[in-house]
Amino acid sequence: MEFFLEPFGFEFFRNGVWAALMVGTLCGLIGVFIVLRGMSYIGHGLSHAAFGGAVLGYVINLNFYVGAGIAGFLAAVLINQLAKGNKIKSDAAIGIVTTAFFALGVALISRVRQFTKSFDAALFGNILGVTTVDLIIIGVVLILTVLAVFFLYKPLLFSTFDNEAAKVFGIRTELIQLVFSLLLAMSIIASMNVVGVTMIAATLVIPASTARLLTDSFSRMLIISAGVGAFMGVAGMFSSYQFDAASGATIVLCGAFIFCVVLLFTYVREKIDTHQHMHRHGGVAHSHPHHHDGEHEHTHSGHTHKEPDTHSHEHPHGTEYHSHEKEKGPAK
């Protein structure tokens, strides 16, 4: 017990844990959209651009958040413009723009050596680096994000699923896109001091990917991802303190560990927990290996009974129904 409580005696650690908890939740929420849209590249790119801006800002005596914010915003606009032309794909555009910003930051740091120490935090994350101002900024961004995800749930879901169709169905996709880009940029800049530029992309992607393994529901994916993010943030902070390692690295390592455990768990569940029996989808009875979680009704040949929800099928259903084996009787 003391092992867990002892570090709480230090204010810097309490700040660090609060920051990691909020950053983890934030990245968990935003990460769901990043993962489902297949744009992990953007998280990586924007954070690197913001770093360049932060260093430049430092040199000309600007506040960290102002420098990072301006650079992040500029990079986002540039990427958009470059990718609009047909010749350059957006991944290349992101690569060029953001690495250029990052290179500028690195060049400035190596020129003026005495900065190196304080920018370690921005690169790899630092438990000591969290100030009260940081906490307030992270808190505000988290609240804004939670509110946006709650009240814009429907348009966010639709435009993430199918942006073209969403537009036809009357969703203001451009507005939604803009709101999301702003949230993403704010999240990245707010997370930078805790997780570090080099680790942000992973912090965004790991919780969401873990959640995706565990559920087939969008809303549950948001909740699980936020939870996994919060947990890996706190666990990472402890490890950072105990092993005296950069917090960004320990947070990502904790996340990667959780991901592996879940991956193993789902694999084993697939192998052990799948069963096969006749059941119906729509009008036709068929049978194939599947498993259940959650409440659901299953209609078997002859009787109906409550059975858990999500079907995870071992083979995709093509255009035809087929059945493989005789009914083995009711499950469980």
Binding site: F150, Y153, P155, A166, H281, G318, T319
Partner: protein
Amino acid sequence: MIRLKDVSAGYKKNPVLTHLTLEIEEGRFAGIVGPTGTGKTTLLKTILGSHKVHGGEVMVMGKPVRSLTPGSIGYVPQLETVDWTFPVTVEQVIMMGLFAQRTYWPWPSRKEKIQVHALAEKLGVDQCLHHHIRDISGGQQQRVFLARALISNPRLLVLDEPTSGVDIKTQHDVLHLLQSLNKEGITILITTHDLNAVASHLPWVICFNKTVIAQGKPDDVFTEEILGKTYGGDLAIIRHDGHLLIAHNAKNKHNH
């Protein structure tokens, strides 16, 4: 129902539609046919108001399409463009058809749930409402996206290639379902590559190749001359017992 006047639209360096004029009457069940890449999808998106026009006028139900209330036109995208790994259930997909109503509360109301269940029952997909969209058959997938388009009670329904990527039985079912919806008074516009399905199921056809080549009943439009103009030749038309059959013309030798 639909009136395009002198419409030009397209992409950078690729003006797909130029000075296009087209009128489609209310109550039609019309199929647009034409070779790949000639602008059928672009035309549909223009009619739906989701594609910017450079010039001309797009009127749907007597109003400029962009001023219509969202949900006035039902739309079923080409199923090949759907992300089947996305974590949504059948019920959630159908529910999306109501999102245009712009309520900010994330949970569906009781009334909306009842509405979705009733429509799902009508289209025969009520049994799989809680299934992931990947875990149902191709025919059911088509019906689910059809339900999403119909949930807002549109008077015009637009489908992009509802007959592609499904087997012949499913294709048959979908077309008959559309026929019965058309009988209920919904104007329907589809694109397709299957000329024989059009000939045997649709009362109206529009031959399209960058511009409207001809429109009318399949019997009148499917002539060697018009199809030659649309596809650039080598199609034979076989008439048998009042049925139309379009085939590749094997008599003409050609080099591949």
